[in-house]
Symmetry: C2
Amino acid sequence: MPPRLKEIAARLDLSVTTVSRALAGYPDVAEKTRQRVVQAAQEMGYVPNVAAQRLQQKRANAIGFIIPTFGPRFSDPFFSELIAGIGNEAGRQGYDLLISTVPPGEREIEMYRQQTFSHRVDGMILVRTRHQDPRIAFLVENNFPFVAFGGSDQNLDFPFVDVDGVYGTRLAVEHLAHLGHRHIAYLSGPDNLLFSTLRRQGFAEAMADQDLIVEKQWILEGDLTESSGHALTKQLLNGTDHPTAVIAANDLMAMGVMAAAQALGIQIGQELSVVGFDDIPLAAYANPPLTTVHQPIYRIATMVTSMLIQVLNGHTLAERKKWLQPNLVVRQSTGPAPAF
Amino acid sequence: MPPRLKEIAARLDLSVTTVSRALAGYPDVAEKTRQRVVQAAQEMGYVPNVAAQRLQQKRANAIGFIIPTFGPRFSDPFFSELIAGIGNEAGRQGYDLLISTVPPGEREIEMYRQQTFSHRVDGMILVRTRHQDPRIAFLVENNFPFVAFGGSDQNLDFPFVDVDGVYGTRLAVEHLAHLGHRHIAYLSGPDNLLFSTLRRQGFAEAMADQDLIVEKQWILEGDLTESSGHALTKQLLNGTDHPTAVIAANDLMAMGVMAAAQALGIQIGQELSVVGFDDIPLAAYANPPLTTVHQPIYRIATMVTSMLIQVLNGHTLAERKKWLQPNLVVRQSTGPAPAF
DNA sequence: TTGAAAGCGCTAACAC
DNA sequence: GTGTTAGCGCTTTCAA
């Protein structure tokens, strides 16, 4: 339906070559001709066929983001913030964004092979890096451009942005300790995620520094969903001995913690303090508003994307490994430890 | 880096054509040859160059979803549910999903022109349809395949799925009326969205049927964000005369309503009842859990996507206009009207 | 300053 | 059954 270069050329009695060069802004086209071409293209509503351009130029002008889905859905504000940031920055710089979803595992790497080898995308964004991450191994091995949100424990050199989870969790522990809490539980994320172990490590270190004892049965592993936070909390509050505070590895689980405790008639902020990690937009609107470690997800997403595009444009990055310091946002879900 | 058809052909001493046909599963290839080809392709890690396929076949095997962003971000559980559904269904059927964001307005239609005329995508998903929606006009006019989540007031024939918002809001009003509420406020979405007017109309009709008076100053228009719900609620509760219940056009605003009221020391479910619309996953984990009109966003997203793919495959749809009946999920944010 | 020709990698019509 | 040829729409040498 829309015209092709051939039609424009025919109408102006020029060759396709000249029209192409005129539109691309090459200097070796007469100014007069250039203007005629540009105007005709405008009038006829010309839009280049990207398949042809991509085939010829061997670049897709697109970046890929494969969401590692754990359930059948990936409805998680963390991911929507990410998509927002990646999408906006990619669009701003003239790149398409290709989204796919796949659960971690065998099929995941096959997906990466498809996306990369098929020339669908020029580069990829990786998130929630894992221990001995097979995705990183694959991309590095094939020398395919990518930038990660999250570092790695592999001895591989690749660009990434990450938030210091050890430090962030330390902030949470110190905050609670200063409020007099001595019995603090920790809800971790899946152990294979790099950030999970870092945050948990931060918890352990900070607890030790505060001379607080970490109770084994108060360290539980969830899957980062509200329902998981909910379920683990029921388990946690089941025994006779309760923690007075819970730190969750992310906000979604923290929301689950609050809901479960409240269902048992427990006052959050008084009887039980809760701290999250992420500071998703809803954290401020929770009841009570959630104290949480703030990481600028949206901004990290744009950073990661713009770094990737720099790489794709052949630039070298000033800083290949960026570590950001998070900060604690204190709201009403935390308060002084209850007296016994 | 990955091999092309030419390499496979050379290695097996076949023509590119035969290799292509063997891989495509054409019957006019000797079984023996087919096996050799398939195995070689497997061994060599062949992945077709999609740009070439797309150019040749004149189809992108991709669908587009342009998110109408109202702010700089589109972090909204409604959209993440949608992306989840669209992405999963598209992936399942072998389609790529191209995501872009653009605020409604001039540039929006230009974006649609780019996506469609450039052959980036074969079809599009449209959401949050508007009055005299220029996107629908554009797509219908250009005969470009699309399916919408939301009907239209234009006299145009196109496939869509929608939820009966008039009925849904009626359920909310009736629920509150049965609880004895007579002073009900309504927080609407932007007036240009079709569903906003339908839901508001449902509100007006149901109120009339219950012989309840609609107070002009208790009908406010928000932008569907929590912060908007928050701000409007402060305004609503500012005067001397309060409603005893608020119905919000979506859950996010309802969350804002609850937070704002609670900040004023108001007990939700006792002093003020709140009803939302959508039933996003977090509604159940709100405090108190939110009474809301449930619409199956994820399922609608997969329906819309599978309908679009059917259209792209040349099938005619059994049902081009699907209306779904929502249901009310009663939780703890609503309760008997307080006695005065 | 412009045009002719080649080719990106693939599929499809048509021979053989 | 298999190969030859042409062509999708574009960019890019290379000549003129």
